[in-house]
């Protein structure tokens, strides 16, 4: 049985490795449009961008993996009748099972000023090297548009490089899925470190001759900038599947076993997949996090080897981390689906905390700031989402809790949310 993996990054690599680990001895082909062997992306906004890690330190070990690499060539189509992947050079690669792991690309800026030099997005290694070159060329003024995880991390890295940074978002606080309480904390953290935050503020466009000179805000004011990082989220790479008859939302829509709704020989893994999750009451979610891509790659591979009736659902609670300054933010579950976020424990100094996301009275997420060890306990609880009161009572009695939260904090955080328009 010949298995073709499209997308040679984390999910694709883990899929190929899992096929071999499961004893699959037939052909495995891994197709990727980047010329480089798989590398890890999280350092692109952190260790690599600041200069702590080299490019080589981002490479995944893949030397011993016995697969056929077809790198530097994009898949441009899928012919399901012929069971072939069509490549941009015209080659057709036959498959018995196909694993789609084409991830996401950065959402580009398409409004006024899109053609200017000095605008950056950040998704792949070339983007990161170009951005690092720009950040280390003199002392540029930096504007980051979008205060999601990548934007907030880039702002933090640019501050560590000693640069003047403005972080702009139309939302009232950074890290929207974490809610106003933790978003407000994050805003405070950036302000304390000298970032100029413009919240509840839209961007009209960018002004300059050839090179960007300023960000034009919705209220008509301008922010001078030499480097602009557009961090407006990511779009799933499924264009090559258009016309294949597979359901796209625009992610590849799969069932609980990561199998395409339309074709049992097509499976998906990583940032590109929408699949039903128990923490979302079995509605589909798409997750753009490292651990999910790693685990789904392996899960999709194991399922690809099994007949449809014997495939196992992938239902792990999503997990992610984000490093900003000296704060490690980690979350499990689906904070973005919570109706409210409640602080449940906090150190007396206020620098370490755990909050939980609650929906329909049940805990569907836990978020930790500098509380790695505590999070492991919450992660186990999410396997069978407990009622909020029950969990809060257990935490209150737990001698390992960081301490009782100070409720005044909620008001303080809300006040930090920035001016509403």
């Amino acid at each position: 049985m010949r298995i073709v993996v499209v997308g040679a990054s984390l999910a694709g690599l883990r899929a190929a490795q899992a096929l071999r680990a499961a004893g699959h001895a037939d052909e495995v082909v891994v197709i990727g449009d980047e010329a480089r062997r798989p590398y890890t992306r999280p350092p692109l906004s952190k260790e690599l961008l600041v200069g702590d890690h080299t490019v080589e330190q981002c490479d995944f070990p893949s030397g011993e993996l016995d697969v056929e690499w077809r790198l530097g060539v994009a898949a441009v189509g899928l012919d399901r009748d012929a069971r072939e992947v069509v490549l941009e050079d015209g080659a057709r690669v036959p498959y018995d099972r196909l694993i789609v792991a084409t991830g996401c690309r950065a959402r580009p800026w398409t409004g006024p000023g899109a053609e200017l030099d000095g605008l950056h997005t950040l998704r792949d290694l070339d983007d990161a090297l170009a951005l690092r070159a720009a950040l280390t060329d003199g002392r540029p003024r930096v504007a980051v548009v979008g205060a999601g995880f990548v934007g907030a991390e880039v702002a933090s890295t640019a501050r560590r490089l000693g640069l003047d940074v403005t972080l702009i978002d139309v939302a009232p606080h950074p890290l929207l899925p974490l809610g106003p309480l933790l978003g407000g904390r994050t805003a405070g953290m950036h302000r304390e470190r000298g970032v100029d935050l413009k919240l509840s503020m839209g961007v009209e466009g960018f002004r300059g001759d050839d090179h960007v000179e300023a960000v034009v805000l919705a209220d008509g004011s301008e922010i001078a900038a030499d480097v602009v990082v557009v961090a407006l989220g990511a779009i799933p790479n499924t264009d090559w599947l258009a016309g294949s008859g597979l359901t796209l939302d625009p992610g590849l829509v799969c069932d609980a076993t990561l199998t395409s709704l339309d074709d049992p020989d097509v499976l998906g893994a990583g940032d590109v997949v929408s699949w039903p999750h128990p923490l979302a009451d079995d509605t589909t979610i798409r997750v753009e996090h490292w651990t999910n891509a790693a685990e789904q790659g392996a899960a999709a591979a194991r399922n690809a080897l099994a007949p449809p009736a014997e495939r196992t659902p992938y239902r792990a609670a999503p997990y992610f981390w984000s490093d900003q300054y000296d704060v490690k933010i980690q979350a499990v579950g689906l904070p973005g689906r919570a109706e409210r976020i409640e602080l449940v424990e906090q150190s007396p100094e206020g620098d370490r905390l755990v909050a939980v996301g609650v929906r329909d009275g049940r805990v569907v997420a836990a978020i930790a700031f500098n509380a790695v060890r505590r999070l492991a306990w919450y992660r186990r609880q999410l396997a069978d989402p407990p009622a909020f009161e029950k969990l809060a009572a257990a935490v209150a009695e737990d001698p390992r809790s960081l301490g009782a939260p100070v409720q005044a904090d909620a008001a303080g955080a809300a006040a930090q949310g920035g001016p509403a328009r």
Partner: protein, 62 residues
């Protein structure tokens, strides 16, 4: 088999603890300890930990 963790790389994510709770342990100060010498029965767990360690800090030798 010997388990190595490069503590210059490890950022105490705790992913390894989740994958192989008998081998890795995170402490109250967020420091990591692990069983250095493991038998064949723990190999699969540790390989799983290697796959999910975001910092590529874990190595298995022997």
């Amino acid at each position: 088999m010997k388990v190595h963790v490069d503590m210059n790389l490890c950022q105490a994510h705790g992913e390894c603890v989740f994958a192989a709770p008998d081998v890795f342990e995170l402490h109250d100060d967020d420091s990591l300890t692990w069983v250095e010498e493991i038998g064949e029965d723990r190999r699969a767990e540790v390989e799983q930990a290697i796959q999910v360690c975001p910092m590529m800090a874990i190595k298995l030798e022997g």
